[in-house]
């Protein structure tokens, strides 16, 4: 048996086992099932994520102050859930003059079991 055969066998097993790992990973970190393959598109509507800056009584969209870092953070949050690193975005917002303002992450997710969208706002 050549190493190549086992490499192919590993590929076959990986393609079958990967979606199970994808489900476990996305469930544990709170990611978007539509990302990273795993054949889980159309399982639930995609979550919506926004980063907000609290400026007195107003809430500002972080995208207006730091468009690229906000997009990067939202994308990584969709893929990796709570493993996404908010530091680059936070640094950009500090440079943009929002150093002492409270930052919030607002997420709207769908719960398939209850059929409801749940919106949560947590500190970034």
């Amino acid at each position: 048996v050549t190493g190549r055969v086992w490499l192919q066998a590993a590929l076959v097993l990986t393609t079958f086992a990967y979606p199970a790992g994808h489900f476990a990973f996305q469930r544990s970190v709170g990611g978007d099932p539509w990302t990273l393959g795993g054949w889980a598109m159309y399982t639930v509507p995609r979550p919506k994520i926004a980063v907000l800056i609290q400026d007195d009584q107003k809430l500002l969209d972080a995208r207006r102050a730091c468009p690229a870092p906000t997009t990067d953070y939202v994308s990584s949050r969709l893929v990796a859930g709570r493993l996404a690193d908010p530091e680059p975005l936070r640094r950009c917002l500090e440079k943009a003059g929002f150093a002492r303002k409270p930052l919030w992450r607002a997420e709207r997710r769908f719960d398939g079991k209850t059929g409801r969208f749940v919106t949560r706002r947590e500190p970034l």
């Binding site: 048996v1 076959v12 079958f16 990273l36 969709l78 769908f110 059929g115």
Partner: protein, 301 residues
């Protein structure tokens, strides 16, 4: 039915030949579920790779029309298809794989599933073109077709939003144009009730026919994929899977996935039918391309 004949029906490999070998080859492992092709020709393998180029071409045409990239990747897809059509399998599969790999890299981390499917399928085509015949793309594409169909159904069950119809309910209530057809099935009363539940829900159907339509999707995905594992049902299951997947993807507006799934499931048919299906896939692709040029933005995915 004896145990041996039951095993033969379920696992379509020659069990005695299998036992004589020291260890199963990768191809045999693939065949255990996807199904061993009775006979495989180099020409059929070329047809299968050619079908995949259609999905890849449509994907890049869409990206070009959205202004994300130029038309160069789509032109490379046509070049790959021409290479495959003129028996330059290595050049054709390598070109197609290069474009598919770039597509995955370009869209990471939000790569759509058809991007991964095309990349995997073309990687297998390429590995077989450059290999020593250990892995035929036909078996690999069958395996991939089975895996996608099976897991698409299981994931829907795991996320628990099809048995109560909540996914389709939420989509219908949101007023997405591509789910307009579902409103016609559900009826005005159901539609009004769902819209009253906006923005947060709960979204669930009361009319049994829409609820059972929602339930039928994962049931058919899992059922048809398992039927593909049985040799005696394989051809009918492949035909039913092809029809089902293409209909579902068209209903969801996922044109590229419909074309990709059509090309993948072609691997289950005899060469003359597979060749005809690949031609149909290309005609559909050219038609969708013309549609995309004439009505920009009308093709969602």
């Amino acid at each position: 039915m004896t145990l041996a004949s039951a095993a033969r029906a379920l696992i379509p490999v020659d069990v005695r030949a299998f036992a004589r070998r020291r260890a199963p080859s990768a191809s045999q492992l693939l065949f255990a579920f996807g199904g061993e092709p009775d006979e495989s020709s180099a020409r059929k393998q070329r047809w299968l790779c050619l079908g995949l180029c259609a999905g890849l071409f449509l994907e890049w045409i869409k990206q070009a029309l959205r202004g994300v990239v130029g038309f160069a990747p789509a032109v490379v897809c046509v070049a790959a298809a021409l290479c495959l059509a003129t028996q330059r399998v290595r050049a054709g599969s390598a070109l197609a794989l290069a474009v598919a790999a770039w597509g995955v890299w370009f869209t990471l981390p939000l790569t759509p599933n058809h991007g991964f499917a095309l990349f995997l399928a073309l990687a297998w085509c390429c590995a077989s073109a450059f290999g020593k015949g250990e892995l035929e793309p036909e078996a690999a594409l069958r395996w991939l077709g089975f895996t996608i169909l099976f897991w698409a159904g299981v994931q829907k069950v795991l996320y628990d939003s099809y048995w109560n119809g909540s996914f389709l309910g939420a989509k219908l209530a949101s007023g997405e144009p591509r789910f307009y057809w579902l409103g016609l099935v559900a009826g005005t009363e159901e539609l009004d009730r769902l819209r009253r539940a906006l923005p947060d829900g709960p979204f669930s159907f009361q009319s049994w026919h829409v609820l059972w339509l929602s339930r039928a999707i994962p049931v058919l995905e899992i059922g048809l994929s398992l039927a593909l594992a049985f040799k005696t049902w394989r051809t009918s299951a492949a035909a039913a899977s092809l029809l089902f997947v293409v209909l579902v993807q068209l209903a969801a507006g996922e044109m590229t996935f419909a074309i990709t799934a059509g090309a993948l499931l072609t691997a289950y048919f005899e060469e003359p039918l597979a060749a005809r299906l690949v031609k149909v896939v290309w005609v559909a692709t050219v038609g969708l391309t013309a549609w995309a040029f004439l009505l920009p933005g009308s093709i969602v995915n």
